[in-house]
């Protein structure tokens, strides 16, 4: 029963129409929230007592590093659906997300190191959290290069999904790395469990920037999945009359 539901819901055609319907709303909502919370965070919140103004990078760094991991988990989930239920759309999603995940991880890395200059004095520090994000970045590159090196799409999808699943083992290591090797990195400002360790005035813009950035990234994923669907289903009849 589930298989029928998934196939019926997740057929590229219905997906495409859904995306078109919601895309503009999501895009509008997230661009507004993002702009507001960034300006709010950058210009309207008071200076941090310890780090002065450089802490404001948190509004750009935290959403990016948060997204880089959740995008990978999203890829892992869609590769599992692809391998178990042979849902074509899930394979397109995996390939659609990979470059965007690479972008967010790249932003997280660069913003982290730029943030490091004033606070830790060096732009690169072999601290566990940063190295794991670097590892994640290399994994994204590995995934993209693996996908591009195969002409036969079905084969590339299968290999990619298996690599994503094996790579997913690395995500908990990143999570654990902050407390396992208690090193330089400040422990996560927002953890789902305990009380956030930054005071509310700075917290609200942070939550705003995360939701805004999240929405924008989702729009990017929708766009790139549309692109994937066009490439892969180009000689299907419905694509012609859709276009």
């Amino acid at each position: 029963m589930i298989k029928k539901f998934i196939h019926q819901f997740a057929s590229p055609k219905t997906y495409l129409y859904q995306v078109d319907r919601f895309y503009s709303y999501i895009f509008l909502f997230s661009i507004i929230t993002y702009i507001i919370s960034i300006t709010w965070g950058l210009l309207y919140t008071p200076e941090d007592f310890v780090q002065g103004n450089s802490y404001r990078i948190i509004y750009l760094h935290v959403p990016a590093s948060f997204l880089s991991q959740s995008l990978y988990i999203a890829m892992a989930i869609s590769s599992v659906t692809y391998l178990i239920w042979r849902v074509k759309l899930a394979a397109y999603l995996v390939i659609a997300i990979a470059p965007i995940g690479a972008m967010t991880t790249f932003i997280a890395l660069i913003s982290g190191s730029i943030w490091g200059i004033p606070t830790w004095g060096t732009w690169w520090q072999w601290d566990a959290r940063i190295t794991s994000t670097l590892i994640l970045f290399i994994m994204y590159l590995g995934l993209i290069s693996l996908h591009n090196s195969f002409s036969n799409h079905e084969k590339a999808d299968k290999l990619l999904s298996w690599l994503v699943i094996v790579g997913a083992i690395n995500i908990p290591i990143i999570k654990k790395s902050v407390d396992w090797w208690s090193t330089l990195h400040q422990s996560a400002s927002i953890t789902l469990t305990d009380k956030p360790s930054i005071d509310p005035v700075m917290l609200y813009p942070l939550i705003g920037s995360i939701t805004g950035f999240f929405g924008l990234v989702i729009c990017l994923v929708l766009l790139s999945s549309k692109y994937q669907i066009f490439i892969r289903e180009k000689n299907k009849s419905w694509v012609k009359d859709y276009v």
Partner: protein, 192 residues
């Protein structure tokens, strides 16, 4: 669908990156029956064989293999280790404890090359060595992809007689071959 049908295929279809190789192909192979797959090169003969073998999943349709024993298969590549001697290759193919081994080595004149490394053997001899796997098989389905290529006359004759009496032993054979051979078999044509 009588019970002695070994392979049953219902309108299987296959396509690579949107271009269709073949579709709506159904056939079934009974025990003791031979099937000759004909088609110009690149028309998907080998892909069909790989689908029957179960290596490749057909994009559409269903294929069912009722034989419990391992399938005896020989493709274009004859799966030999060129850096090892003929003797080692026979061990690798796990044929060394087969009593018929020696007289087939005699028939195919491979006896005297026992410890010659395979890379020094001629193409025909390597083919015969690979065919040992077919002569000494104990499976009830034999699949051969262009088996007669590179064989001299007596080996060609040897293989044809062998395949014919395998059919009498109620085994079934699926093969592709551009070289004519007198094995009475059903024929399937793959359109271009």
């Amino acid at each position: 669908m009588n019970n002695n049908s070994l392979i049953v295929a219902e309108n299987i279809g296959y396509k690579i990156n949107e271009n269709k190789l073949f579709h709506r192909m159904s056939f079934n192979i009974n025990r003791g029956e031979a099937l000759h797959i004909k088609g110009s090169n690149g028309s998907g003969k080998s892909t069909l064989i790989r689908i029957i073998l179960g290596i490749t999943q057909p994009v559409k349709g269903v294929i069912e293999n009722k034989s419990t024993k391992e399938i005896c298969y020989l493709g274009h590549k004859n799966a030999l280790k060129s850096y090892l001697t003929l003797e080692d290759n026979i061990n690798l193919m796990q044929l060394n404890n087969n009593m018929m081994l020696n007289d087939y080595l005699e028939k195919l004149e491979l006896k005297k090359y026992k410890d010659v490394t395979v890379s020094n053997l001629s193409f025909g001899q390597q083919k015969k060595l690979a065919l040992l796997r077919v002569f000494l098989n104990n499976s009830d389905l034999i699949i051969l992809d262009e088996p007669f290529v590179g064989l001299d006359d007596n080996a060609h004759l040897e293989l044809t007689t062998f395949l014919n009496n395998e059919l009498e032993k109620n085994k079934s054979v699926i093969f592709t071959s551009h070289i004519p051979c007198n094995i009475n078999s059903k024929i399937i044509e793959i359109p271009q």
